[in-house]
Amino acid sequence: MATVGPTVTRPFAHAFAAYGRQNDRVVSVTNDLTRSSEADVFRTELPDRSYSLGMAEQNLVGVLSGLAREGLEPFYTSFAVFTTRRPYEQIALNVAYPNLPVRLMGFLPGITTPGGVTHQAIDDLALMRNLPNMTVLELADATDVETFWGTVEALPGPLYCRVPRGEVPRLFTEPFELDRVRSLTTGDDLTVVSIGAAVSHASGAIELLRSTGLGVTHLVVSTLKPFGDEEVPRSIERSGRVITVENHLVTGGLGTAVAEVIAELGLNATLRRVGIADTFTHGGSPDYLFGYYGIDTSGIIRAARELVDDPLDGLDLDGPEVRWQSPGVGGSSSEGL
């Protein structure tokens, strides 16, 4: 897709430190992944409010609860697997249940990590979305990362947020708004709803689909919970066909959220969910993995072919014109783990 500006280097690291400088109740808590989860600038600038808890995530989450109960606003930045899955019960009982202003930041989500199955959070959105009181976000670009802090500050309860790291593209000009989707393209034949690292892949596919004259609305979601923007059902009802695209299991995340909207509103629409289909994943480069698991241009066009008569009929989905590369969205990074 067309980016709207040059990539930004480590936008979270700088924005987090700035947020901390402005608010003396903010503290940073890490589990031995301080630089890898971009809390190092905060630590350098605000060492007295930066705590290293070591590799002990269950205790770490309890400590977050205690810090918040004393009136602080603790951030835990880590890889999404260690943010969510490892200390899940502690998050449920000590953070979500008492509805505390704890900020859980998940980096290298889904298959954007250079690590393998142990490092791939393919279920984090599902886990966090199912917790009462939890707000769930996935930031897709540098603008999101730079502009979501007002939302954070205003949230009285807990937050889980997938964050892109490293060289992050700029995809949007409009600032982040809670529970508002962005419309990147409009058209009446098909609705594509994408999130996070899948946004660029969706944009690439939509470019090709639109070149055939197909009208495609592309909605980008950055707030998965709550999920109340009426633009979603409006567009789905208009097109009657919807594809969700996510860097996550197709269950429990965006695909499920859209399915619930369709079912609960009784919309006359058919859904295809592009994402990780009930399988664990293995390690590799993001480009390889997004291709292997079909969360790419050809996977999205295959889904479109099931919904729309012969779009791009005859196009070789493994051919060079489809092998569109995403610009490192969602944290694929040369710095490794």
């Binding site: 205790n59 309890g62 810090l67 918040a68 109960r69």
Partner: protein
């Protein structure tokens, strides 16, 4: 010892007796209950509430309102910590980790005039916040610790925040020895020592018992005192039924280190008749026919208060 000591020790022992009596009556009335936990922890709770903790006056009503929704989700829900005083860092806080000790805690609040004895009429009833395993809307329950081994970490977070900001209030925690089978307990002590949290005191009710039976047969944990010291804490083992010994251990803490007081206790203290039960019927006591009367008859707690 000095006279003032005698004053508080006899008051604390009266409170401990009252905790056991109330827990026994509730277990009889409800045909079962967490009685042995009250029996083992009565002196620890009494010493904390009568002697050690600097708690503000209760900011909650003596008679709790019925359940109006879970704490984080209902604006009308009252926080259980309010019965331990206002949530202000100048005051101490008390974190009960194993909340199946809630019966003992409610009884403690009654005996220390933070909760009306009438409140116990609602104990265990549907729609009441005096739940058998309390949550943080239950009187005195500050952290929902029923999934064991977690509340100590929350206490560490509180102590860390207070240390960072120079607040005076101390954090007191009661854990059970069974919980130390959970690895998170050791993560918590490791971090408390790393941050030098001498504003944190952990009482361990070492009654050596868990659901399936004696801990040494289910999963031995070794010397908790030695382990706590190895993790960087200042630790000591005392007779957990001796209120003076518990208080002395708490007041002789070391600067720069979290304090762990392993209180060696017995699950049938006050009710010798409880000894005859089989291993798996101790953790949660259900009385057989006539058993409650037999246990009551074997106890000196009731005679002592008869006029």
């Amino acid at each position: 010892m000095e006279d003032h000591r005698d004053d508080w020790t006899s008051a604390a022992m009266r409170v401990a007796d009252g905790i056991r009596r109330l827990a026994f009556e509730l277990a009889v009335e409800h045909e079962g209950g967490y009685l042995i936990q009250a029996c083992s922890s009565a002196e620890i709770l009494a010493t904390l509430y009568v002697r050690l903790m600097n708690l503000g006056p209760s900011s909650a009503p003596p008679l709790p309102a019925p359940f109006t929704g879970v704490p984080g989700s209902s604006p009308r829900s009252r926080w259980g910590g309010g019965w331990n005083g206002p949530d202000d860092p100048a005051w101490d806080r008390f974190v009960l980790s194993p909340t199946h000790y809630s019966t003992a805690l409610y009884a403690t609040l009654v005996e220390t005039d933070r909760l009306s004895s009438e409140a116990l009429e609602e104990y265990g009833k549907d729609g009441s916040v005096l739940e058998m395993i309390g949550a943080e809307h239950s009187p005195g329950v500050e952290v929902t610790g029923g999934s064991l081994g977690q509340a100590l970490s929350v206490a560490v977070g509180r102590a860390l925040a207070r240390k960072q900001r120079g607040n005076q209030g101390h954090i007191w925690v009661l854990i059970s020895d069974g919980e130390t089978q959970e690895g998170q307990t050791w993560e918590a002590l490791q971090s408390a020592a790393a941050f030098g949290l001498d504003n944190l005191t952990v009482m361990v009710d070492a009654n050596r018992w868990q659901v399936d039976g004696p801990m040494d047969r289910v999963m031995p944990v070794g010397s908790l005192c030695a382990k706590a010291i190895a993790f960087g804490c200042s630790a000591v083992e005392v007779d957990g039924h001796d209120v003076s010994a518990i208080a002395d251990a708490a007041t002789s803490a070391e600067p720069g280190r979290p304090r762990v007081i392993v209180c060696a206790t017995h699950p049938w203290t006050g009710f010798p008749g409880l000894r005859r039960r089989d291993d798996a019927s101790v953790h949660f006591v259900r009385f057989g026919p006539g058993e409650a009367d037999m246990i009551r008859a074997s106890s000196q707690l009731f005679e002592r208060t008869q006029p």
